[in-house]
């Protein structure tokens, strides 16, 4: 039966295109005359079965769900449609094909559907925040004024803003990065370049601590810095809590980045008579500059959105302050948290708008990390 070969063959990408899977394609890449034949993965039989099942199940479920059975609600409708579609797709395929292919197509439909659910969740998360926040975010005063200039509960959206929270977030992030960047990369250099039994202990502990629940970092700083040492609830305390969060993340991803530096490069440098220090400074670190930057930026992206540590360490002020040591300091996640818990719809709208700003910050950091990590691939 030829349908077996034509309908459900894998497409040729695994052996064909060297840009997808470089590991297994070394012979195919060098020889241009030996191109694999193009196997079309899907036949018209497949597409027609798919379309027919989709439309047929939609009609059936519409009839049963909306007209005959006592159900309502679009979530239930979509769920029943998907189940009916799977059943119909399987039955129609079974008319022509062997059970093996029915199972194969069913799995493909289930897997694609699950990926669709996750994609939908991501899109709805971002989209919902943007839609709910768009009313407040397009006023310029939202960025140029602080909370103290207008009561966010009562003032119209054209007054008041989150300038203090934006700057608070940036200052806290700056403190956290200033603390955890040298410590994190220094630890990674120690674990990779110096090594030894103690380094293995450090690595085990660092890996275990990437799992530290964020609230515990805050609780530690709260009891240690604020209660025991008498530091005020301030941007500095929040920055320290964030750095406790960030440090293991940066150390771990920098460790991964440094570990893939080829040993041959190190040996070449040492063989030329360089000291170990010069080897690390001139060879190892520059080779992975992009990877290290990615590690730091991903740590920053994680830290800027952390709410729980900030919640119990920073306090919240409504005015703009640049002094992280003496005054409480608001930040974006904290502002969002306060805003959405209030019963006032205006304030909730402002919270969503602050969510857009926070998402934009994360996206910028994330995009920078992607850009840098792509450069690394290009330079090789």
């Amino acid at each position: 039966m030829s349908a077996f070969a034509s309908t459900d063959q894998p497409d040729v990408r695994r052996t064909g295109s060297p840009d997808v899977q470089p590991a297994g394609t070394s012979q195919a890449a060098g020889d241009s005359s030996d191109r694999p034949r193009a196997v079309t993965a899907r036949t018209s039989d497949y597409w027609l079965t798919l379309a027919g099942s989709l439309i047929g199940s939609l009609g059936l479920v519409w009839l049963l769900y909306e007209e005959i059975l006592p159900f309502s609600g679009w979530i239930g409708f979509v769920a029943s449609w998907y189940v009916a579609y799977l059943a119909m797709f399987a039955i129609v395929t079974a008319i022509v094909h062997k059970p093996l292919i029915v199972v194969d197509r069913l799995w493909a439909a289930i897997i694609t559907g699950a990926a669709g659910i996750v994609g939908l969740a991501l899109v709805s998360t971002v989209g919902y925040t943007v839609i709910r926040g768009s009313a407040a975010v397009h006023h310029l005063n939202f960025f140029t004024q602080s909370e103290s200039s207008a009561n966010p509960q009562t003032a119209p959206l054209t007054q008041g803003g989150i300038k203090n929270a934006i700057f608070g977030s940036l200052i806290e992030l700056g403190i956290a990065t200033a603390v955890s960047l040298p410590l994190g990369i220094g630890t990674a250099v120690y674990m990779v370049e110096v090594g030894g039994r103690f380094a293995r202990v450090v690595r085990t502990v660092v890996e275990a601590m990437t799992a530290l629940p964020d609230i515990l970092a805050g609780l530690f700083i709260y009891t240690f810095l604020i209660l025991a040492l008498g530091v005020q609830k301030s941007g500095f305390a929040a920055g320290m809590a964030l750095s406790v969060m960030m440090l293991p993340i940066i150390a771990r991803s920098a460790d991964v980045a440094l570990r893939v530096v080829p040993g041959g490069l190190r040996e070449a440098s040492l063989a030329l008579g360089a000291t170990q220090w010069r080897t690390v400074w001139r060879v190892v670190l520059p080779t992975q500059r992009a990877g290290l930057a990615t590690a730091v930026i991903l740590g920053m992206a994680r830290a800027v959105g952390e709410t729980a540590p900030v919640l119990i360490t920073s306090g919240a002020s409504t005015f703009l302050t640049f002094n992280p040591f003496s005054n409480p300091m608001n930040s974006l996640p904290l502002y969002i948290f306060t805003a959405v818990r209030s019963p006032n719809p205006k304030f909730i709208e402002r919270g969503f708008a602050a969510g857009i700003v926070l998402l934009a910050m994360v996206l910028i950091l994330f995009g920078a990390a992607r850009f840098l990590s792509r450069q690394k691939v290009g330079r090789r």
């Binding site: 052996t15 410590l183 629940p213 530690f220 690390v280 729980a308 969503f352």
Partner: protein, 341 residues
């Protein structure tokens, strides 16, 4: 009499100017400073990180001294009466985490399979970036999304489950008769079920990325071998990709479990605090360790604070155990350092 062994070939005569240069074992000053300072940094980081654990752990002593072993069996957390116990809190923590895993395990596994096996190759890099982006979205955003968008819709799912499976104690909802004349949404909303659902969205990218990593490493020769023997794509996945990626599947799920146990803000927003030991996840109310700490640390007396820290230590111990196991399973399934010139 020397103990040196002559390694040169027997015939070759020693040439006078080919003597090996003296090799000193001692490091140069710069290297000693370098090694010393990086070791110092490593030690500082170790001390800071270990201090968190030790600091939390030490609080168990005054807590147990003050509240006794009832601290682990008491279910109330009532600062006014000074009756504090963490049994309901711990059960709630595990309950939410397990619900999150029930949702996230199939979704993460199937999404990873889609990206590594089914997605068209031009789309794959963007999909991997989307998973990374999903991991980077702050938890407060997920929490707000869950509170305002998921909660009002998901309670109908809770009611539906309760309507048809309510005779099973696990799916029972007190005060929420699905056939009542007036529907009471508050009985179903803000439940551990919905909180777990939202937490699952946060841990899916974590588990998915780990699974994706191992699936993409499944050896190409074995994949091609399965196809050459006449396997369909799903057959190839079942016989090659899944067995190869078993370590990543288990490890990724446990990493997700560790994160789900410690999730704070989303749970704090969604779950309304109720300190009862009840295994009715569809019902309104519950509490987790992380949300307990976030709720009560602000105005706790010193005795209560050390009780909170002790609760934090129990949470910490749980996540450390889960994560260390996960890391062991993941590293056993694949090794990181392979690149050599």
């Amino acid at each position: 009499m020397t103990t040196l062994i002559d390694m040169r070939p027997a015939g070759s005569a020693p040439e006078p100017d080919d003597a090996p240069r003296p090799i000193r074992r001692s490091l140069s000053l710069a290297d000693r400073v370098f090694r010393g300072s990086t070791t110092g940094i490593g030690a500082v980081v170790l001390v800071v990180i270990a201090a968190v654990g030790v600091f939390l752990g030490l609080q168990l002593v005054p807590t147990l001294h003050h509240y006794g072993l009832h601290f682990f069996t008491e279910h109330q957390w009532n600062p006014q009466l000074n009756i504090l116990g963490i049994s309901a809190v711990l059960i709630g923590t595990v309950e939410v985490a397990i619900i999150a895993i029930l949702f996230s395990f199939p979704l993460a596994l199937l999404t990873a399979l889609y990206i590594s096996e089914y997605a068209p190759s031009w789309l794959r890099a963007s999909l991997v970036a989307m998973v990374d982006l999903m991991a980077a979205i702050p938890s407060i955003i997920y929490g707000v999304w869950g509170y305002f968008l998921i909660n009002p819709h998901a309670l109908y799912l809770s009611r539906w489950i309760n309507e048809y499976l309510g005779w099973i104690p696990l799916f029972h909802v007190q005060g929420g008769d699905p056939r009542a004349a007036i529907f009471t949404p508050s009985a179903y909303g803000q439940s551990p079920f919905i909180a777990g659902m939202v937490v699952s969205m946060m841990v899916i990218p974590l588990a998915c990325a780990v699974m994706l990593g191992v699936f993409q490493q499944a050896p190409i020769s074995e994949r091609e071998g399965a196809y050459a023997l006449g396997s369909t794509r799903s057959g190839m996945i079942r016989t090659v990709v899944l067995p190869f990626g078993r370590g990543g599947i288990v490890g990724g799920t446990m990493l997700a479990l560790g994160r789900a146990l410690g999730e704070t803000v989303a749970v704090l927003l969604i779950l309304s605090p109720v300190f009862d030991i009840k295994l009715r996840p569809l019902e309104n109310g519950g509490i987790t360790t992380a949300s307990l700490i976030a709720n009560y640390s602000g105005d706790a007396t010193s005795g209560q604070l050390s009780a909170l820290l002790a609760a934090g230590f129990v949470l910490f111990a749980m996540t450390i155990v889960v994560n260390t196991l996960a890391a062991m399973i993941v590293t056993r399934s694949r090794s990181g350092a392979q690149t050599e010139i």
